[in-house]
Amino acid sequence: MTVSYDNSKIIFDGIKSAGIKSISALPETWLGPLLQRAEDDPDVQLLQVAKEEEAIGIAAGAYFAGTPHILLMQNHGFLAAINGIVSLAQLYRIPLCMLIAMRGHWGEPYPWHTRGGIVTEAVLRALEIPIEFARDPQKVAKQIREAWTFSQSSLSPVALLLTRDLMED
């Protein structure tokens, strides 16, 4: 299985057509081709963090500044960022539009991803973070746009989970 370059392009185009100007991310395999496009695009600012919790702070700063910003991370990075999500974003009513690579779930061949994959959805629900699964390349651009809109109207974190169906060929 390899990462889908075609669908990575569709997702990146969806991010751009949603009006996003700034992306914070920590690279991981599924997000690689997508982040490469972001890096090569002069209209989008890519900020690569050392740990995902930093990106929660950066996203808050971008929100205060009025810059449309999304976060790209693996689900294990989401798990590493929880205190920032709870005690910055949710506490202060700061929206976060998170696109999360859903590793360690259906079809996962690598044992090390599995525990994180198994608990991710339950943790998101426990935190009252609205979620959608992105599986279909025909629908993902609309899902990104809607995730962005909902984050801004609810002043809440929202998560679009990028699944294996979408991210691998």
Partner: protein, 195 residues
Amino acid sequence: MERAECLQMIYPELEDTLVVTIMGACAQELYNLGHRENFFYLQHALGLASSIGMGLAVSLPNERVVVLDGDGSVLMNLGTLATLARYRPGNLIHVIFDNGSLLSTGGFESQTSSGVTDLDAIARGAGITHVAMTVTTLDFGEAFLAAVERHELSVIVAKVAAVGPDHYGMDLQLGENAFRFRRWIQSRARSGGSA
């Protein structure tokens, strides 16, 4: 020197500046000098003040951003120094008040008061070029003014006593602070201010 003295010294410089402080004593001492709409007090999420500052600074290159951080807070997010060094927002001044103590959570010694952990060296090692270590109020004030005039990413480590305000309390709800801080920035951008 005391943090409150340092804050008092730079307070006049913070009028048209986006200021992000960490929780507890630092936030309270700044508030006690007089709240301004351009101050954001991060009362939790320890470690992320500098990341918020980075998000602001890269988004608003024409605004000056000052982060008022602490040793305990920076130690919880050391990666931030590497990320700041990588993107080098020239409009960001990162002040780290190093009191060697987790003062606001009971006064336990932090790793810096053992004398072995040197935040100034860590910042340099992270790749930040302009790092000042200050131990007197005068040096701190000079380092801050130099950073203001430099227009390059600057870190100032200020060795301060582990003392805080004699009372805590703000007439400002957390969400209210966030909404008003954002509104101040947005209205400034609309009016064609510095943003």
